[in-house]
């Protein structure tokens, strides 16, 4: 859990600082973290706000960028299917990249775990962390110019590398990672983070294909 909080903190901070440079009012930046709670799409939204993009364009982009969360929901379905409906409704609100990564990591660690408690602990710790560091970022963004170029965002890349490496247990897994990475790189210049969706689709397809070849 701790790595996630450390990894995500710089992003909240950078989001806050960027919102200042983008000329977004402080209340809107904080409100976005409070109600949307989806880092990648918030970064893009800030960029679009700075470019005076139309609201419908910002909303449509947010939808495309966050489509991957539907995959997370499907992937965690086995864990949550027995929860009461209100818990699933609340849980969906905090289903971020980080929450998914840490919960999946825990569920597959083999250790016994009280799943609703772990899920909500992770999810809401991330939520408070994200909103608090958005606020810190807004304050720092006004006080320390240029902080968004310090490279603090590398913490999240390192965290995801650390989560993925132990999952690479066999050829299908390694193949899936290679395909996802290669396609995401080849398509990195596409708008709306479409490269991310294409890379994810390629990785899943190659993993399934290699697994079939084995049995």
């Amino acid at each position: 859990m701790a790595p996630m909080l450390i990894g995500a903190a710089p992003f909240g901070l950078i989001f806050g600082t960027l919102s200042v440079t983008a000329g977004m009012p402080a209340w809107a930046a904080i409100a976005m973290s409070l109600v949307v709670f989806a880092g990648a799409s918030q970064f893009i939204a800030v960029t679009l706000v700075a470019a005076s993009a139309a609201p419908w364009l910002i909303i449509a982009t947010t939808f495309v960028v966050n489509l991957r969360h539907a995959l997370y929901a499907a992937s965690l379905w086995q864990q949550v299917m027995h929860w009461p409906r209100w818990q699933r409704a609340l849980g969906a609100f905090v289903l971020t990249d980080e929450c998914f990564a840490i919960v999946y990591h825990k569920a597959n660690s083999g250790e016994p775990v009280d799943m609703p408690r772990y899920y909500f602990g992770a999810g809401f710790a991330m939520y408070v962390n994200w909103c608090a560091f958005t606020l810190v970022g807004i304050v720092l963004g006004r006080a320390v110019p240029g902080i968004e170029h310090w490279g603090l965002e590398f913490a999240m890349a390192a965290t995801f590398v650390g989560i993925v490496v132990p999952l690479l247990k066999g050829r299908p897994q390694v193949g899936a990672a290679l395909a996802a990475g290669a396609v995401a790189l080849a398509a990195h210049a596409l708008p709306y983070k479409l490269g991310l969706m294409l890379g994810a689709a390629a990785g899943i397809a190659v993993g399934v294909w290699l697994e079939r070849g084995r049995t």
């Binding site: 701790a2 450390i6 109600v35 289903l95 490279g151 899936a176 990672a177 396609v183 991310l196």
Partner: protein
């Protein structure tokens, strides 16, 4: 006012994507879909990380002078060898910081 609508719309599409599956009742995925979903974490997280690590100022850079790559390799190595996530992240951050400072 348009900011309020933007935020409301962003909330609606984001929450909708996250919740639509969990709020429908009583569906079970066929085995083939379940197998495919096993690859979601590897595929999605790698697709997020690869451009962060390799793309520098809009161009792909896989050379020794790429600090993200150096840091990611150290993180990967530590986690692979010792299975310590926090140590891996710390090591990767240190190497990344050192690379940026030296170059």
């Amino acid at each position: 006012m348009s900011m309020v609508w933007t935020l409301a719309g962003m909330f609606a599409v984001t929450y909708g994507v996250r919740a639509v599956l969990w709020l429908g009742d009583g569906h079970a995925f066929p085995d083939s879909v379940r197998r495919a979903l096993n690859y979601v974490p590897i595929a999605v997280l790698t697709a997020i990380v690869a451009p962060v690590v390799f793309v520098h100022e809009g161009a792909i850079n896989a050379g020794w002078n790429n600090p993200q790559l150096a840091g990611a390799l150290v993180t990967g190595l530590i986690v692979w060898r010792w299975n310590k996530l926090l140590a891996g992240i710390a090591g990767g951050m240190l190497v990344y910081g050192a690379w940026r400072w030296l170059l």
